[in-house]
């Protein structure tokens, strides 16, 4: 039995034997002492500076006043079902919201929405000619020059035929 206790505490006991060994632990005080001693050895080897007196006897004494727990299997299953049900409801709600939003933009309404958005576009401003130099100098900082958001960070470079194998223009990202 001691060898089974040793394997059990390492999580290396065969599944079929676990119930039998745990039943033995429940019945036999000496077997529980072996379990405690083996764990103490492990704790000493891992943390020799953190060893203190055994509290289990004191906790056991205080546990005398505590009622035995009787959590029914149904209760545990119910709790798991509740968790699953809540997750399912949340997922369905999310799908429902997305579906509802997509239905709001039906093919009939879409052109109207597009028209409204066009109407909301800001009118183009007349830029003073004296601002041109300033805008030219700072155009790289303007988001409006971005084609796909990152174009302003890309530089076009080319290599001569003599010193580079590739013949086509290449682009490289310019660290900014």
């Amino acid at each position: 039995m001691k060898q089974e206790i040793s394997a059990l505490m390492d999580g290396e006991l065969f599944d079929d034997d676990v119930g039998m060994v745990m039943d033995h632990l429940k019945r036999d005080h000496a077997t529980r002492m072996n379990w405690a001693t083996y764990h103490l050895i492990g704790d000493v080897l891992r943390q020799p500076d953190h060893i203190h007196s055994d509290l289990s006897a004191k906790v056991h004494e205080r546990m005398r006043d505590e009622p035995a727990l009787l959590v029914s299997r149904g209760h545990a299953v119910k709790q798991k079902m509740r968790t699953f049900a809540l997750s399912a409801v949340a997922s369905l709600s999310a799908v429902g919201v997305v579906a509802w939003m997509s239905l709001q933009i039906s093919p009939e309404i879409a052109p109207q929405l597009a028209m409204q958005q066009a109407a909301m576009r800001p009118a183009s401003m007349q830029i003073q000619p004296k601002s041109d130099n300033y805008l030219m100098a700072h155009q790289e900082f303007s988001p409006s020059t971005d084609v796909n958001g990152g174009a302003s960070y890309i530089r076009t470079v080319s290599y001569g035929i003599d010193d580079s194998p590739p013949k086509n223009n290449q682009t490289e990202k310019q660290a900014k």
Partner: protein, 199 residues
């Protein structure tokens, strides 16, 4: 079956009314939990009381434990809350202003702190326990010592140890057991010397 599965099975047994299964969890985690709580409660006697309180609270809260996290993670959260509530009740601040979780707290290396708060009697006893374990380990044959060290200190699985030691898993199982039992043989007389205070 992993260690976590073993804990879960013990928890389910406690939930079905088996108090002895809870004793096994206490035996397993008392020193780790005590070490964690002593990060907050520096007085040794108080830390011991708070550790006991944490176990009792854990027992009472076990009907709500669903196994979504590992048992020790759940237990350590209870331990930290119990320690902080204890300090609040005594209107003291936790000894650290930095928030940390159970794993961080456990990994702290501050042995001097524990030595400070241990009573001379406790310190002597713990020193004897450590000496006996370490001396017994040194007396073991090389293969047993290696197997036990790889398991307890390196945390390797039996399969990994079998790979390292180039032997079957069954041999690893046997070597680890024989090593533990040899050390336990030397330890038992010491553990049973102080009446009512087993180490």
């Amino acid at each position: 079956m992993t260690e976590r599965d073993v804990d879960q099975q013990l928890v389910e047994r406690v939930q079905r009314g088996d108090k002895h299964a809870f004793d096994l969890l206490v035996s397993k985690y008392q020193r780790r939990l005590g070490r964690l709580i002593s990060r907050f409660v520096r007085d040794a006697a108080e830390a011991e009381d708070v550790t006991q309180d944490a176990f009792i609270k854990a027992y009472r809260a076990l009907p709500g434990f669903r196994g979504e996290s590992a048992f020790y993670t759940w237990l350590y959260r209870i331990g930290i809350n119990t320690a902080k509530n204890h300090l609040l009740a005594n209107k003291r601040r936790a000894p650290t202003s930095t928030p940390f979780d159970a794993e961080d707290a456990e990994s702290f290396e501050e042995a001097s702190l524990l030595r400070e708060v241990n009573t001379p009697e406790n310190e002597l006893m713990s020193k004897q326990v450590v000496d006996v374990v370490q001396a017994s380990l040194q007396q073991l044959p090389e293969d047993l010592r290696s197997a036990l060290t790889l398991r307890e200190i390196e945390g390797l699985s039996y399969e990994e140890i079998a790979g390292v030691m180039n032997c079957p898993v069954g041999t690893v199982r046997s070597r680890i057991f024989r090593a533990r039992e040899a050390v336990a043989e030397n330890l038992r007389p010491l553990l049973e010397t102080s009446k009512g205070k087993r180490w």
